[in-house]
Symmetry: C2
Subunit: 285 residues, 2 copies
């Protein structure tokens, strides 16, 4: 039986394997400077941080280590958001023991307890993770400039002075960031994605590709909002719905979005997290 850390690594690999996943790197589509093999190397590099989370090391420190390892390839940011979802989920699944996971144990309630228990030190670890890789983020509100994640470790004194936990940080960005929203609300879309992946038939990557479209149709991708604005994000979600309705070939949509450089990365992160939960609950590959 796989450990929780191994399930998390497999989730990362299955996510990028799933195709078509319109706009994102997958088995048959990539960007010139962000290729499939960068996601392979990212998943390998993240391994030590994932094992730290399973062993009960602090969430922030485990996440920073996972990101540092993930970034040890030439593609840049491959799985930052996915690791941010996976780290507390691994903790919730493993109970911090690092032993093979108990299929019964991973629930939204347990996951919420992990995020609610995060500390100021966890927030500092999160900020330090930005030292290792460039992540596309929005400008913060005016009253949060000192907490701009792009400041990386330089923002840590402000975080410490205001005694903000990692949960506190994400409460402040939940309105505009889909990963943060999961963090402060018991991971509702992650667990829903896991249920859908488990309920569908066929090869797991095919199920993941389907659930990617469903999540994308369901809500605009916040990473697309950040990079291209609300209108584009809503247009992409409408197109995903059209594909689900059978009125647009998902392969055509995928070609179009890659051509335009529009990648719904947050939705891909949710799929990775959903795959992890499904694997923890006994999904066979």
């Amino acid at each position: 039986m796989r450990t929780s850390a191994a399930n998390a690594q497999l989730a990362l690999l299955l996510e990028v394997t799933a195709t078509p996943k319109p706009g994102n790197v997958d088995r048959v589509r990539e960007y010139p400077d962000l290729r499939f093999e960068h996601f392979m190397a990212g998943a390998v590099g993240a391994s030590q941080g994932l094992r730290m989370a399973a062993a009960g090391d602090p969430v922030g420190e485990s996440f920073e280590r996972a990101v540092e390892g993930m970034a040890d390839q030439r593609g840049g940011n491959t799985q930052f958001g996915a690791l941010l979802l996976l780290t507390p989920l691994i903790r919730a699944a493993s109970g911090g023991s690092g032993s093979p996971s108990d299929n019964e144990e991973l629930t939204p309630e347990r996951a919420a307890r992990v995020t609610e228990a995060t500390t100021v030190a966890d927030a500092a670890g999160f900020y330090r993770a930005f030292e290792h890789v460039d992540v596309a983020v929005d400008d913060p509100p005016a009253d949060m400039e000192a907490l701009d994640v792009r400041r990386g470790a330089d923002a840590v004194p402000a975080v410490e002075e205001r005694k903000l936990t990692l949960h506190d940080i994400f409460e402040r960005s939940a309105d505009r960031d889909g990963v943060a929203r999961e963090w402060v609300s018991g991971f509702p879309r992650t667990f829903a994605a896991a249920d859908r992946i488990a309920a569908l038939d066929g090869p797991v990557p095919d199920r993941a590709a389907r659930v990617f479209l469903e999540l994308l149709a369901d809500e605009p991708d916040t990473f697309v909002v950040t990079k291209h604005g609300d209108a584009t994000a809503q247009e992409v979600s409408a197109a995903a719905q059209t594909a689900l309705d059978g009125d647009l070939d998902p392969e055509t949509l995928a070609d179009d979005l890659v051509e335009r450089g529009v990648n719904p990365g947050t939705t891909a992160d949710l799929v990775a997290a959903g795959l992890f939960v499904a694997l923890e609950r006994g999904l066979d590959v």
Copy 2:
């Protein structure tokens, strides 16, 4: 910097990512019951055994653990031969310390010292690995029936009675098995593949696909010999040469061999091992 165990895992992932790799599962071709995601899960599952090898655990025991973990997916044998090459190479690269690898250290001589130092207990571990997965192998010569690997753990008493080390075992099959031949001769094709991968330009999976063709053209694949006979193996190697000469589209050859179920698996194992050596020597992904 990646550890040797991490480089080995990445080598497994890059190998299956490389396309076209005529006859084998790759990013765009698979068999109904042996799919791309089974190789992802195999590489994840092998991780603990790879780390054991890097930490200095016995070769046979590490290999058995790697195979047991690899087999924890529904596709069956995905990377048995690759793990058999990687296990001693990891030991040679890490010096058994498990620490980040020293780029200068992995040489054919060091690798040969590891295989020459294998014990009867290592041979027993190798036989026990066959308990975890079905591997296509030839009938043994009449005087080696007691040592038939398909007997798995049942063959261990005969191995112990004859005091055969794992190196001894492979000397007896080197004439008909390309992995065994590497084991007893300092891994010449593995190191040659690594040099070629390092010398070529472009994305690493593309280089690996090219080197796969070169190795296949250079020598008949012994796994194809076992499953389909000498004539087919020689025909496949000739076709690989035709592809290298530009007179046959490798994609066409790939479609044809998958259609016929002819998979040059030993050549893929050599590519995985060559990728590992190249990564150890500083290849960037």
